[in-house]
Symmetry: C2
Subunit: 401 residues, 2 copies
């Protein structure tokens, strides 16, 4: 018995059957004596229809009005779920983001939660009402509606769990939990029983789509007991915990990220400050850089390679091209024919053999490594894109995940 | 130049073409130098879909959750209209009922406006923003969403016009204004240039559907300059004014109301207080009664006939049947095979020949009159339902409307 926050994305709500399914999950938690707050999203189909209507009316509509439009979708979901719960005979109330006390900044379409005033929700919970919150929306200081953008549902659920000091935050997904690798790539994947926040953060930032990194960071900060589990069956899912509380598995999982492009700035003058110049230019345009490699200086020049996301590739090249003089570099080259393959595990920090085993796995199947980077709980390598699947499988097998 | 409130029902918004059409009306008023507040309703098609979804999930959903659901529809409309106006390059902002400052009572599904806090709207108008309000919705003292029910859009528009001290309130409809009779019944109908609040109220309560009586009453109370006009062409529509300011036309229009049922309580003991007993019984159950006729007492008993709406007929009969003893009446009979046909005109009060001319028109076409009632600006008769169309046409012709 305690306070549970549950989160359901729009794909759970596309039809009456889906709504009744999540109603079961919500009322089950309530029947077991818990206070329940469920955060629900706009139905996938409705969101598509709304965005289509907006495009027809004005392809360049303001983000403010887009937020008014899309937030109405989640409000519809919240009402329908509440109605379904009423039908089962449970006391329930739906709340908009505003009513649920969420204030955000004014970054329409991608707003960040600034505060949650829990007064209303606690008043409803005290009356033993189930609370259904229209997700991914809040209200800024102008009393205007804002939405959270990508990953906002996860973040909202965790933020509620933190603000309400919930005992548990359940993130319902369409898979069985967090896997040791992408089931589409590897046949023998397993669902992890548990994983630490940091491990999940590394997996997440590497392209695992189960849970958004902002949400995991927030969960870590407030030490929220988080579970990622299926909304379609009764498998236990994956528990996300403090590092100290999870089994120190050597390698937790292996993931692949195709959204990478390698950029190489060649023939940079070999003197102090050049790396600083290069990356501050990119930072000014909000371009995130990963996996930086600097060649050892030779002939008084050096090369700096790094990875950017594919959507940032063109801008990156333009910036460097027009600054070759300032950078005192000869040329810039690039390719998006790579994948980043990574292994993650809190146990590897004390186990120097892990990196070697990973490289061996790749050598065994004759895959060339273009770049390597390591952190305390992660090792990443860059391989040819058409060899990435083989690489993931070889590593997954090597570590018997 | 001034402040204009415009109202558009959901049938104006069913597709992009419709949205662009009303955008033209809104921006035209703005271009002419006016401050513009437009109240828009949920798209007809969306409302049908939402109600269908609700029925599938829970046919007996609470009114509170129905209001959360349906109000989201008007919010969607407001965003789409705002986007269309943005596209035309005009400054615009959409507001929900809550943001627009509307507080209501807690009668979900049929809430009454208690107050409009105009601060936000005036702030937007001062910035020269066009304001689009999601119509037929407000917020009660619990911060919950309420909707206004039937006629609520009209009432909201007029209430805004009153609260904002607007110079003009334009009610856009799918006909050319207020007609002298129902165009479906009479071929030679004309659009009235103007009409008084009271005349319109009589027409409205008699079943003309252009404008809801609550809205007209409110307009009368605050002396709002009201225009009912087409949203599909540029005809001038009908202006609604104070009685003193309209041309004193003898007969303004003729209308038919089929939603009537005649009830006769027969053989009531002929002594004081019996009518009081009868109608207080009905009032207790919120049954409105119209056109009461009492026979002259004979044999120490009398008969009382009256009209109720068809949906109230059964309840009325049940109430009287179970109280025949208290009423000291012999029996109750009823029929719903009647229509009420009425003429309305502020001029008839000083013109005793009007009633006679009406009866003559019916006599000329051999239509029997079952009941008659007159007020200062209205004469109503009850005729057989299958003769009602002929009656309306005969009267319309008689008065050369």
């Amino acid at each position: 018995m305690g306070l549970i926050v549950q989160k359901f994305e729009g794909y759970f709500l596309t039809n009456t059957e889906g709504i009744l399914n999540i109603t079961d999950r919500i009322t089950k938690a309530y029947r077991e004596g818990n206070s329940v707050v469920a955060v629900v999203s706009v139905q996938d189909t409705l969101e598509v229809a709304l965005r289509q209507s907006a495009r027809e009316v004005n392809p360049e509509a303001s983000l403010r009005e887009m937020d008014v439009l899309i937030s109405a979708g989640a409000q519809i979901s919240s009402a329908l779920v509440a109605m379904a719960i009423e039908k089962e005979g449970y006391p329930v109330v739906s709340l908009t983001g505003y009513q649920a006390g969420i204030t955000t900044d004014s970054n329409y379409g991608n707003a960040k939660i600034k505060d949650i005033n829990t007064e209303r929700i606690f008043r409803e919970l005290d009356r033993r009402n189930i609370v259904i919150v229209a997700g991914s929306q809040g209200c800024n200081r102008f009393d205007d509606i804002t939405t959270f953008g990508r990953g906002g549902m996860d973040t909202a659920a965790v933020a509620f769990a933190a603000a309400l000091k919930a005992d548990l935050c359940e993130i319902y997904v369409d898979v069985d939990g967090i896997y040791t690798a992408d089931p589409k790539t590897v046949n023998s994947v397993k669902v992890l029983k548990d994983i630490s926040y940091d491990e999940l953060l590394e997996l997440e930032s590497l392209g695992a789509n189960n849970l958004h990194s902002r949400a995991v960071e927030l969960a870590k900060k407030f030490n929220i007991h988080l579970v990622v589990k299926s909304g379609f069956n009764d498998s236990p899912g994956t528990v996300i915990k403090e590092v100290g509380n999870v089994e120190k598995v050597l390698v937790r999982g292996v993931v692949r990220d195709n959204n990478v492009a390698r950029v190489a700035v060649i023939g940079i003058e070999d003197r102090p400050g050049m790396a600083f110049k290069l990356f501050s230019l990119l930072a000014k345009d909000n371009i995130s850089v990963d996996l930086i490699l600097q060649s050892i200086g030779r002939d008084r020049t050096k090369d700096i390679s790094f990875i950017v996301s594919r959507e940032n590739l063109q801008k990156t090249i333009e910036i460097i091209d027009s600054n070759l003089g300032i950078l005192e570099a000869r040329e810039v080259s690039y390719s998006d024919q790579y994948s980043k393959v990574s292994i993650v595990g809190a146990g590897m920090i004390n186990n120097p053999g892990v990196a070697a085993a990973m490289f061996e796995a790749l050598y065994d199947v004759d895959i060339n490594i273009h770049m390597i980077t390591t952190s305390e709980i992660k090792i990443s390598v860059l391989v040819d894109i058409h060899e990435a699947d083989r690489a993931v499988n070889a590593i997954h097998e090597k570590f018997r995940l």
